[in-house]
Symmetry: none
DNA sequence: GTGGTCTAGACCACT
DNA sequence: GTGGTCTAGACCACA
């Protein structure tokens, strides 16, 4: 399904959230599709079940998945997902900082535009 | 100089790093300019000196400033920046995640491109 | 594990770094082996935990260990070492200074060569 | 005469000591040759005179130079220099650590031997 | 349990 | 004055 990077500074449950989000956003996990159970994913990633639980709970809070007691965890339809302006602003600010840092690292506008294009194409493929 | 957001999930020293980075990248702090001393900034932000020093040390590690013991902390000239591939990859990955999140939040490619253009223009102004 | 020299001019955290580096380089601490936790080593050496953490963080920065929050600190596999030219140059310069000092202290080229050979053999043994 | 590296982690007075030691060891500054006066060197390096003073005093303590009141500071003849076993051991230990670190950074015995040879030749030239 | 952050306050070396 | 190190002790998030 995906790999964790223990060496990363990101905590494990954040990595799980981000990975699953990405699988949903790119459409690899489709609406209403069932996610692996907590215990199953726990075994797959050799990670403490509590950690998986915490990630699932946060994904639910953000509206990406919903849980049916006794059945499991499923991908929400897109319009159930929580989209608030605050979240958009957060992403924008992060994006802004990263763009500035790329400039600082020697990238120019053109470089960044083609980097973006690359990412668009990469997304096109997984969709 | 800048304000801290104590409610932020970012730690204080990270906020300091990001703020100073931005002041340097946008040219508000110029090459060889002296940063406030550890104690001075500590007073300005009412933050413990150790926290400031931690931020300064990390900025030094990343090549944004250099420190002369007994004199203070100064903005590095651009060519002394530590540009290693690892750093670039980190930014790329963050950028990638943000772009994907924007898609999820309802942005399309065109929206993102104009967002980028906005940022380029904003940068043009402060330069 | 090792002893600190409180009379040394080297700071405590530097001594810790150097000692652990040596344990790793000589293979006494093996790849993926867990280092003592911050608090544990703190107790072993009767040194403040902050000081240990500073050492661990620097070792991480240099690529000798990696940290998993909540789990502990582990020896990096050799290929994850951060080998940047800057680091090599630092060692070279130190080496150069030491060689020159040996000349000054009355050693000649042959003396230094056999000193080197001694060190090679010593290393052969611990490997 | 020589350049200081303000970005270095070494303190300024240590850099001055090391540089002058090297000039003496390599013979660029010859026995009985007069060193620049404190004020003169202070201007040359744009460094506080107290810092120069401190470096000269330490060089004197180590036996590299001697001071004649009212006349200046002169290079000592080699046999006046202070050579104690403790000093030799310090250098040896540093050397040992550096060699080990080179191994860790991917150098093998042969690499190190030729590195050494390089340094010998470099020294031959300045002598 | 683990690491990560922060404060308050002390002491030292260097400029 | 400057930065650098260290301690003691607190609180948080994560596994």
């Amino acid at each position: 399904m995906f790999q964790l990077d223990l060496k990363s500074r990101k905590s494990i449950y954040e990595q799980i959230i981000d990975n699953i989000k990405e699988l949903i956003i790119t459409g690899i996990l489709q609406t209403e599709e069932k996610l692996p159970s907590v215990r199953e994913l726990s075994r797959m990633l050799t990670v403490n079940p509590n950690t998986i639980q915490k990630a699932y709970r946060e994904l639910e809070r953000q509206g990406f998945v919903y849980t049916v007691s006794g059945l499991g965890c499923f991908v929400s339809p897109p319009d159930n997902r929580l989209v608030d302006q605050r979240q958009i602003n957060e992403v924008r600010e992060r994006l802004r900082g990263d763009i500035m840092e790329l400039f600082y690292l020697g990238f120019n506008e053109e470089d960044i535009r083609s980097l973006l294009q690359e990412m668009f194409e990469e997304r096109g493929e997984c969709k």
